[in-house]
């Protein structure tokens, strides 16, 4: 059980403080320049009024990368709920880091043939910890859930009558992302920070790629050669920025 600690703060791996420093990895969702708010109504580029009620996603194998290519693991599995911005605090070896790597989804080795019941409840892949992000009829984790309501008439004040639901998973959708060109110095007594932003508006309307009109493309439970699931995941991967 997690006691009364601030739920948005995760402390990890205390290490020798003489040779290590703290890193805060912030994670948050944005809509344009604003903080993205779950259950708030937005206009998309198609003129639909949309309200996202749930946006959750597995983020795996988060590593810092040094100039020589060596890596430091920050977190193996993390289930992000973009309803809240979070700050994850880590103690990492001192030094300079030039990159951040992460995976969207759950890597194949942990995905379909692993038993959620084997993990303690605090683990993000466990029965309790997965918070519904698992398909029990066809074992495997749901990498991302993106659900909500839409008013296709775009009339301010009108009820949002239609639903959209993206449940995306399965091994081919796992995406490894690598952010380079960082210059992050970690040293004792000088806390460092990184911010990972997910631009929700860009998932639906990417700078390059396939836009998604929720009025006509509202539901996917993931299928093979699933154009919608692929577009969504490609856009999602492209909509993440590290500062």
């Amino acid at each position: 059980m997690v006691g009364c600690k601030d739920e948005n703060t995760v402390e990890e791996k205390p290490e020798d403080t003489a040779t290590s420093g703290t890193l805060t990895l912030g994670m948050g969702a944005k809509w344009g320049n604003e903080d993205f708010v779950v259950e708030q109504v937005y206009f998309d580029t198609y003129g639909n009024r949309i309200r996202v009620d749930k946006f959750m996603s597995y983020i795996s194998e988060i590593h810092l990368v040094r100039a020589d290519g060596s890596e430091v693991l920050l977190k193996d599995f993390y289930l992000a709920d973009f309803e809240n911005d979070v700050n994850l605090n880590y103690t990492v070896p001192s030094g300079n880091y030039v990159g951040l790597k992460l995976g969207l989804g759950v890597p194949a080795a942990y995905n379909k043939h692993e038993d959620p019941a084997q993990y303690p409840s605090s683990h993000p892949l466990s029965v309790a910890g997965s918070q519904g992000m698992f398909w029990y009829w066809n074992t495997g984790y749901i990498f991302t859930k993106f659900e909500g309501k839409i008013d296709t008439t775009g009339t301010p004040g009108a009820e949002l009558l239609d639903s959209f639901l993206f449940h995306i998973g399965d091994d081919p959708y796992y995406r490894e992302l690598s952010f380079t060109g960082l210059n992050l110095n970690v040293a004792p007594n000088s806390p460092a920070s990184l911010q990972l932003n997910i631009f929700v508006d860009q998932i639906l309307a990417p700078a390059s790629g396939t836009s998604i009109d929720l009025a006509t493309n509202a539901v996917t439970h993931t299928s093979e050669l699933d154009v919608l699931a692929t577009s969504f995941f490609d856009n999602y991967a492209a909509a993440i920025a590290v500062e």
């Binding site: 038993d115 019941a117 309790a128 997965s130 918070q131 698992f134 029990y136 066809n138 074992t139 050669l225």
Partner: protein, 342 residues
């Protein structure tokens, strides 16, 4: 009332938590050797879930325990009724797991040998399968944890759990292991047909004729419903519909070519598991035989073996009579598979 119940459980729970080291006389759990019927391959167990008395007994109690359900009223045995070979006689299971509210409840006989579970074969083990019914599609894990808390209020179950898995409280791991251990004891291989093969029972002329038809090149039933389990665990489109409302295997593989493909069901105890097919759309064995005789609806991916059979009335009756010989009455009444006596 609900409030009261909750409180008494809570008190019980607290009572246990405060009573210090649990197992005083430390009884030992005993390994169990399951009897495998003649002609069945040997039964394998996962290394972390070898069969023992306590594991099987814990699984049996959980299988029939209403505290494992969300509404506190149902349990596995509500849909998987022993006297009907662990089916429920309904067309479509009510509020079921898996394809919730869309599929007929399947029998649970001989699942220890099944290479995968569910109609699309998407679940690789009984241990993993046990998670499915314990979840509502919407808020799964959270609900399972509620059930876990309720179950842990029962000291008898906790004691069995300690004995079985050496853990002080039940958790998703031990619950799913125990349910699987119990379900592996649901072995059915003592039907009239088995006794006939063992030379200790006879078949009537009609039954024998049906048997010959069933195994014949002309009908090819046994190519898919192959011995000893009367299933090859393959996936086929038998042409039940020209457009399947339930995509079957396609749901898992996402391949159009798998549309309408369903896992071949076992035919053991088939006479007591009506209605039939994945959606319970055929009411009687006579209907099933009439369906096969008609050659299916002609789905474009229908298996080639499903074609008009031109069966005579007597041949149809013979097939039905043969299917009746696959009932294992001992399995339907075996006390070790029934709810325990409190």
């Amino acid at each position: 009332m609900r409030q009261l119940l909750l409180w008494s459980n809570l008190l019980l729970f607290l009572g246990i938590a405060s009573c210090g080291p649990a197992v005083s006389d430390s009884p030992k759990d005993l390994p169990v050797r399951l009897r495998v019927p003649q002609g069945f391959p040997s039964l394998d167990f996962p290394p972390d879930n070898q069969p023992t008395q306590a594991r099987i007994e814990l699984g049996r109690r959980l299988f029939y325990h209403t505290d494992l359900s969300m509404d506190g009223k149902t349990n596995c045995g509500t849909c998987h009724v022993q006297s009907s070979a662990f089916t429920d006689g309904r067309t479509i299971a009510q509020g079921a797991h898996g394809q919730s509210g869309r599929r007929n409840t399947p029998t649970l006989a001989n699942l220890g040998w099944s290479p995968y579970l569910m109609a699309e074969g998407g679940v690789p083990s009984l241990e993993l399968q046990a998670l499915a019914p314990l979840h509502e599609p919407s808020e799964m894990g959270i609900n399972m944890m509620d059930a876990v808390a309720r179950i842990n209020a029962h000291e008898d179950l906790r004691a069995l759990n300690r004995l079985a898995y050496g853990r002080d409280s039940l958790d998703p791991f031990t619950i799913t292991r125990a349910l699987a251990a119990f379900q592996r004891t649901m072995i059915s291989g003592d039907s009239k047909y088995d006794q006939f093969k063992a030379g200790v029972s006879n078949l009537t002329d009609l039954e024998r004729k049906g048997m010959e038809l069933f195994f014949s090149k002309r009908l090819q039933c046994s190519e898919c419903h192959s011995e000893p389990f009367f299933t090859d665990y393959g996936f086929y489109n038998v042409g039940l519909y020209t457009t399947y409302p339930d995509p079957g295997l396609e749901r898992k593989t996402h391949l159009k070519a798998d549309s309408g493909n369903f896992k071949t069901p076992t035919l053991r105890n088939i006479a007591v598991t009506a209605p039939y097919m994945h959606d319970g759309s055929l009411n009687t064995l006579e209907d099933v035989i009439a369906f096969y005789d008609s050659g299916g609806k002609g789905h474009h991916q229908q298996d080639k073996r499903i074609r008009e059979l031109h069966l005579s009335q007597e041949e149809k009756e013979a097939l039905v009579a043969f299917l009746h010989t696959l009932t294992d009455w001992n399995f339907l009444q075996n006390k070790t598979l029934s709810p325990w006596d409190e």
